[in-house]
Structure formats: structure tokens, C-alpha cells
């Protein structure tokens, strides 16, 4: 299908009206406080059935960009996957596995944060204290600024510091340490010192009922802090590979783990030591008509939206024009938010001519704003439609409004259709 035909056919098509949208949202919201859990999305793909997840050994071992780090780095087997094993893990187990490897292979590595010694609130550090000792895995006082500053000091001595901020919403007391101290340490010491071995892990994004201080996505606030890297994994394999890469990256990294995926995202994860590249986006679904760019939790909403577009259920079918259903959408996981993979995104948009960016943070000056500005300046003449951003409302994340504020599959679908039909 070519772009003009999509546009001309769809122009006449009825778009999802605001009332339809609010009806859908309200219908979902009513379930949110019911005594029974909501139905698991009916027949739509959910995180449990997502095709994005690598649920077989074969698929896991063939993760694009995977780099094995065996003890014997010169072995000819270094680049083979034969004989490697995988284990079924959810995201928190994969994070724990990565930290276990880091602690086992690097005697200078330490893990610290609030309540991490007995596993942490999300169980990411379960058993690490028992396995590696309380000298290496320990609780800190409730002091985020202190945790960040302490980690910076440890890392500046050349030790590997893996800090946990219990929720990314609590990272703001540490904002000065991270932006002014960690990000600029190398620069302001003329390269004499650095805190490259600092990694700050923090659970992020919405959880459905976290409210004002437990469902924010603060990655955008760090966009101007050159010197830092911001990484957001989407799945257990990605979490393990990207976390190991972050721990070993010679720059300080803030690693934001989408907290709703801790238990719900399950994959076969290679048990060996491996890394996935930082600063590189990954094309999950190749396409030619529109680039759909996101990171973390919304990837699964995007997958659902693509399914709704290709095969809309009866209730939505009248609203999804036939001509759009065959559109080939390119789904990209940005993975590293800072520095983001400009080349890959521009390359994709130059092929598709359309870009929809989805993120859970609010719109104004969010990460999407930066990407949209860069894309329009680099690919202006290739753009067939304005860059669309599907984001949270510009409001605080009110408790009972959370499901209404955070973008869902319907909003992604609507933005995709409108952009295709522009």
C-alpha cells in the first residue's frame, strides 16, 4: 500500500470522536476499583501474550545485538549460541540475575539502596545479600541525595556502584547530585576523575494506581544533563543485557525499570553474561508507512494498537477504515533515552514519512518534544504528516485519574490513524 492511497481513502473516514474516546476510557475506569480484576483485555494481545517477548530459548539467544561476555573472552565459542542455556524469568528476576553476575565477576561492585538487603520493595535484590555478603549488598538510610552522593564518591574511586532509588519519583532529592555532580564529574575535573562506574537503578512509569508520587516518568527531566545516560528496558532479556552494559559503561547511567513489567513481562533469559548495546534503538516490527516510537511500558500498548488497527474488534471496526488496516507500521523501542539514537529514528522516518511518539510522561517539554524537534529539522522534506505525540495529560498523576491520564492503546490507535490519514 502506498502512502497517498492511505491518505486519500482515510480522509473521508470517520475519526474516533472525543466522546467515543471518553466512553472507552470511562468503561475501562469503572473496572479499576471493582472487587474483581478487570478482564485481561479480552482477545487483545496483552503483556502476557505479547509477541515482543522472547519466550523460547531460540528466540532469546538470537536477541539482536547480543554480545556474550564469557570468562574466556578469547574462546572461539564466544560468538556461538550453541550450548547456551536460558531460564524463564520475569523482569525483576532478570535484573537480579544481572546484578548477581556483576557482583560475582567484579569484586569492587556493591549494591545499595533503601531496603535492598532483604530484597527491595520489588524483589530485585532478593538473596543478593545472602549470596555476596552484607558488606557488598546493604541498606542505606532513607536519603536519596545521600545515596546518589555516596555512589558518586564510591564510583570516583574506581569502584562499581549500583545504587537503587526506590521509586523514580523519589529521585528529585538526588537531582542535584546526579545532574551537577555525576553528569559533570569528568568534564569539570578535566578528565582526571569520572563516575563512569555508577549505575542508578530506579523503578519508573505508571502502575495503574500509584498516584501522584509513584507513577511518574521523570526521564525527561534529565534530558539536558549531558554526561548521563538514561536507559529504559522493555523486557527481561533487555533488562539483563542493558543493565550489565549500563553497569560496565564508562559513564554514569540512570536505569529506569518500568515497574508494572517487573512481574508481568516474562521471557526466556540467557543465563550467561551478555550485554546489549546502549544508545541504540531496536526495530521490533519493521514497516514502511509510519514509525511508531516509544520505550518501556507503552510498547505493549503500541502492540495492542497495531493489532486493533490490523484487525479491529466489532466494536471498533466502523471507526477503523479498511484502507488503513493494511498499513505497515514500524515499531521502534528507543531503549536509551539519553543519548537517544538519532540516526536510527531519522533513518526510519525518512523511509516512512510519518512519526508517532508515545510516552507516559506529560507532553510539555517531554522527551517527545526533543525528538519531534530534531526529526522535523533533519527530515522536514520527507515528512508526510506532522509528528504526533501521544503522552500523558499535562496534569499531575491524580490517584483515581491515573488510567485516564496515561495514554493507552486506543489513543495510540487514534494517533496512528490520524497521522496515516493526514
Amino acid at each position: 500500500m502506498t502512502a497517498p492511497s492511505i491518505a486519500s481513502t482515510a480522509r473521508a473516514a470517520k475519526r474516533l470522536s472525543p466522546s467515543t474516546l471518553s466512553r472507552l476510557s470511562v468503561a475501562r475506569r469503572c473496572n479499576s476499583t471493582g472487587a474483581e480484576p478487570p478482564p485481561a483485555g479480552g482477545h487483545l494481545p496483552s503483556i502476557a501474550t505479547s509477541k515482543i517477548l522472547r519466550t523460547t530459548r531460540e528466540a532469546a539467544l538470537r536477541t539482536p545485538g547480543i554480545k556474550w561476555l564469557d570468562e574466556d573472552g578469547n574462546s572461539p565459542l564466544q560468538n556461538t549460541i550453541g550450548g547456551r542455556e536460558t531460564r524463564k524469568m520475569n523482569l525483576y528476576q532478570a535484573v537480579r540475575d544481572a546484578m548477581g553476575i556483576a557482583l560475582a565477576k567484579d569484586d569492587t561492585a556493591i549494591v545499595f539502596g533503601e531496603d535492598v538487603a532483604f530484597g527491595g520493595v520489588f524483589r530485585c535484590t532478593m538473596g543478593l545479600a545472602e549470596e555476596f555478603g552484607r558488606e557488598r549488598v546493604f541498606n542505606t538510610p532513607l536519603s536519596e541525595q545521600g545515596i546518589a552522593g555516596f555512589g558518586i564518591g564510591v564510583a570516583s574511586m574506581g569502584q562499581t556502584a549500583i545504587a537503587e532509588i526506590q521509586f523514580s519519583d523519589y529521585i528529585f532529592p538526588a537531582f542535584d547530585q546526579l545532574v551537577n555532580e555525576a553528569a559533570k564529574f569528568r568534564y569539570r575535573s578535566g578528565g582526571q576523575f569520572n563516575v563512569g562506574r555508577l549505575t542508578v537503578r530506579t523503578p519508573s512509569m505508571s502502575v495503574g494506581h500509584g498516584g501522584l508520587y509513584h507513577s511518574q516518568s521523570p526521564e525527561g527531566f534529565f534530558m539536558g544533563a549531558s554526561g548521563l545516560k538514561i536507559v529504559v528496558p522493555r523486557s527481561p532479556v533487555q533488562a539483563k543485557g542493558l543493565l550489565l552494559a549500563s553497569i560496565r559503561d564508562p559513564n554514569p547511567v540512570i536505569f529506569m525499570e518500568p515497574k508494572i513489567l517487573y512481574r508481568s513481562a516474562v521471557e526466556q533469559v540467557p543465563i550467561d553474561d551478555f550485554e546489549l548495546p546502549l544508545g541504540r534503538a531496536e526495530v521490533l516490527v519493521p514497516g514502511a508507512d509510519l514509525t511508531l516510537l516509544t520505550w518501556g511500558t507503552p510498547l505493549y500498548h503500541c502492540e495492542t494498537a497495531l493489532s486493533l488497527l490490523a484487525e479491529p474488534p466489532a466494536s471498533l471496526a466502523p471507526l477503523v477504515p479498511e484502507a488503513l488496516r493494511g498499513a505497515r507500521i514500524e515499531l521502534i523501542d528507543l531503549r536509551t533515552v539519553l543519548p537517544w539514537d538519532v540516526e536510527s529514528v531519522i533513518e526510519s522516518v525518512q523511509r516512512t514519512g510519518r512519526l508517532v511518539i508515545v510516552h507516559e510522561a506529560s507532553r510539555t517539554a517531554g522527551v517527545g518534544a526533543e525528538i519531534a524537534a530534531e526529526v522535523q529539522s533533519r527530515a522536514f522534506l520527507k515528512l508526510l504528516a506532522p509528528v504526533r505525540r501521544v503522552t500523558a495529560w499535562d496534569t499531575p498523576v491524580g490517584l483515581q485519574f491515573e488510567k485516564f491520564i496515561i495514554p493507552d492503546a486506543i489513543h495510540v490507535l487514534d494517533a496512528v490513524m490520524e497521522t496515516l490519514a493526514f
Binding site: 532483604f118 542505606t140 536519603s143 532529592p173 501522584l212 485519574f401 485516564f404 491520564i405
Partner: protein, 398 residues
């Protein structure tokens, strides 16, 4: 065991005499002694003597152990504490039946602090605390229905369902605050305003033993002492900051001594007579222009830190059970009252009925209206022209 009604001579704690410097605060709720016979009339004051280890002081004198109480005031304490506990238990049940979602921190076991505080301050005094805020919100002018409604995310909630458990306010209660320690400098600011406006009143800025290690707490201490603010920094030491015990998180667990030049009082936070007396002392201290004071209540939370914490991974079940059975603030007071022949069954029954009614009222309230999503972000009438939604159609024009 010792009790208020049994007049007895004080038994000297001989074991303690051997190690005079290791004396520690005791946290029983039923060790107060009667020094005179109880008057028949409920409003006639009489004096009781607190256990000699009810307070410890740092760079100041301890509050008097002789406290004047009335039968009516003690009955009122009892009734309020029972009601607060019932409310928290109702929240617990609503959470477990999945009607309350998100984060919820209960203060079961710490009733003597909130009720004792409120009983010794006036409506001109201000209170600010962290996320374990439900009793304060009710006592400071809120309603039980308003608190439970907020937890349920309903319109009747005190923040209209937008805040939830940690964000509940009244005109003289500056809220539940969700960020550990963030409320303490805010409390110093409130106290500054009181001083600036020359109002003879005090601010009580509460925080926990966990929050006591946040840097901004010390920043607030410094400013409060520097400017001699009428601020009482109240540390509710329930012995665990989330899942880490005070000893594992704090180099100095004597929180009342951590104010450097600010004097401090440590008080038994399980005995409401002691906690009320300590608050009265602290209020008088700051209103007299002596500058800030640290007030540490040694107390205990029976439940976990929040609903997702079973509360037994970092302490033993026996420890919790021992605290519940031997040092409970409600049982301790109940013992005195019952020994005077005043039955507490009627009070318990009335509290249960009141809570049951509030639960039904809160559950009957509808969820917030969609329009309320964009109210109260900016002051009404000064909003930006529009608030952007998730995508183009969802713009709200003010």
C-alpha cells in the same frame, strides 16, 4: 502488673541502678500511678504520676511526671484512640477487598501519638506530617468519611479522590506528604509564618525515624534554630524506617539528641498521658520564645510499612505480638478506666458503628467527575488557556 487504680509505693528498679548510664525510656502504657483517690465527678481534675522513665531530656529539663487529668479527658482519649484504630482497620479491610488501590500506610499501634498530640494543642497550632496521616487528618478537622472516601478515590474524599492515602489536608493540617522527609522544611516555613505574623502558636512537624536521616531534615533544624522558630520537630520513632530497623539506618538512634543546639525530649509514645504531657511541654516551650524543640516519641507500628509489606520479614512475629500484648496504648488506658468501674464496651460499640457508617457513606460516594481532572492545577481564573491531553482531541479549554 502495676496499674493506675492500685495505689502502691514505687519499687526502685535495682537492676537499673547498677548501670546508671544505660537507663532507657520505657514504653509501657499502664505504669502510671495514682497519687490521690479518684474524684466521682468526671470533670474534677486529679493528679497522676507517670513512670519515672517516661521522659528523657537533652539540654533541657524533662516534663513533669505529675500530670493533672480528669476522668472525662481519659475517657475521651480512649474513645478517640479506639475510633482511630477502627478507622485504620476498616481501611485495611477495604484495601484487602481491593476497593482501595495504591499506597496505604496505617498507624495502628501509634494512636497515642496522634491523639495525644491533638489533645494538647489548639486549633491555632499547625501540624504537618508524612504519609502515615489518616488519624491526624480526622483529628485536625477532617471527617472519617472524608478520609476513607479519599482512600477509596471518591468525590467525598478530602482531596476529592485525587490524592489518596498520602495526600489529605485540613485548614490546620498541612497534610500527608508522600516524600520521606520533605515535609520537615515545610514545617519550618509554617513556623516562620506563625512567628512573623506574631501568632502565639506552634507548628508540629512530624517525621519518622526513617526520614530523620534525610539531609533536608538537618537543613530545617538549622534554619529553625538560627531564626528561633516556634517549631516542634516531632520524630515518631516506630523503630523501623520501611523495612530497616533504626539501629541499621541511624548512627545515633537517640533522635531527640540530633538537633545539635536544639534541645530535645524523648517521650513514651505508647502512653497517651505521657505523650499528651510531652506535647504540652513542647508547645509551652516554643511559644515562650525558646526556639525549636525536638520531641521524639518512642512508639511502634503493628502492621507493615505499607499494605504491600507483611511487616514480618525484618522483625519477628513474637516481637510484634509482645508489643501488642504488653504495650498497647489502648489496652493500657482501658485497664485504668475499667478499674474505676466504667465499662468500655459501649464506647467500643459506638466506635464500630461510627466507622461502619462512614465506610458505607464513603463507598456510596461516586468516583471523581472527569471534569475534576484539570481543576486545581492552577488557581481558578489564572489557568493557562488550555491543558493538553494525551492527544489532540483531549485538550481542555479553561
Amino acid at each position: 502488673m502495676s496499674s493506675l487504680a492500685r495505689l502502691r509505693s514505687r519499687v526502685l528498679p535495682t537492676a537499673r541502678q547498677l548501670v546508671p548510664f544505660a537507663r532507657s525510656l520505657q514504653t509501657s502504657a499502664d505504669t502510671t500511678l495514682l497519687t490521690q483517690s479518684i474524684p466521682e465527678d468526671g470533670s474534677t481534675p486529679f493528679t497522676v504520676k507517670l513512670h519515672e522513665d517516661s521522659f528523657r531530656a537533652y539540654n533541657t529539663d524533662a516534663p513533669s511526671l505529675d500530670v493533672e487529668v480528669t476522668k472525662d479527658s481519659l475517657l475521651k482519649h480512649y474513645q478517640t484512640m479506639v475510633t482511630m484504630r477502627r478507622m485504620e482497620q476498616a481501611a485495611d479491610a477495604l484495601y484487602k477487598s481491593k476497593l482501595i488501590r495504591g499506597f496505604c500506610h496505617l498507624a495502628i499501634g501509634q494512636e497515642a501519638v496522634s491523639v495525644g498530640l491533638e489533645s494538647s494543642i489548639t486549633k491555632d497550632d499547625m501540624v504537618i506530617t508524612a504519609y502515615r496521616c489518616h488519624p491526624f487528618a480526622v483529628l485536625r478537622g477532617g471527617t472519617i468519611t472524608g478520609v476513607l472516601g479519599e482512600l477509596l478515590g471518591r468525590q467525598v474524599g478530602m482531596s476529592n479522590g485525587k490524592g489518596g492515602s498520602m495526600h489529605i489536608f485540613t485548614p490546620r493540617f498541612f497534610g500527608g506528604n508522600g516524600i520521606v522527609g520533605a515535609q520537615v522544611p515545610v514545617g519550618a516555613g509554617i513556623a516562620f509564618a506563625q512567628k512573623y505574623l506574631e501568632r502565639p502558636s506552634a507548628t508540629f512537624a512530624l517525621y519518622g525515624d526513617g526520614a530523620s536521616n534525610q539531609g533536608q531534615v538537618f537543613e530545617a533544624f538549622n534554619m529553625a534554630k538560627l531564626w528561633n522558630l516556634p517549631c516542634v520537630f516531632v520524630c515518631e520513632n516506630n523503630k523501623y524506617g520501611m523495612g530497616t530497623s533504626a539501629q541499621r539506618s541511624s548512627s545515633n538512634t537517640e533522635y531527640f539528641t540530633r538537633g545539635d543546639k536544639i534541645p530535645g525530649i524523648q517521650a513514651n509514645g505508647m502512653d497517651i498521658i505521657a505523650s499528651a504531657q510531652a506535647v504540652k511541654y513542647a508547645r509551652d516551650w516554643v511559644i515562650a520564645g525558646n526556639g525549636p524543640l525536638l520531641l521524639e516519641f518512642v512508639t511502634y507500628r503493628y502492621g507493615g510499612h505499607s499494605m504491600s509489606d507483611p511487616g514480618t520479614t525484618y522483625r519477628t512475629r513474637e516481637e510484634v505480638q509482645r508489643m501488642r500484648s504488653t504495650q498497647d496504648p489502648i489496652r493500657g488506658l482501658q485497664r485504668y478506666i475499667e478499674e474505676w468501674g466504667v465499662a468500655t464496651d459501649a464506647i467500643d460499640k459506638a466506635a464500630k458503628e461510627e466507622i461502619d457508617k462512614a465506610v458505607e457513606q464513603a463507598k456510596a460516594s461516586p468516583e471523581p467527575r472527569a471534569e475534576d481532572l484539570w481543576t486545581d492545577i492552577y488557581y481558578k481564573g489564572t489557568e493557562p488557556p488550555l491543558m493538553r491531553g494525551r492527544e489532540r482531541d483531549e485538550v481542555h479549554v479553561y
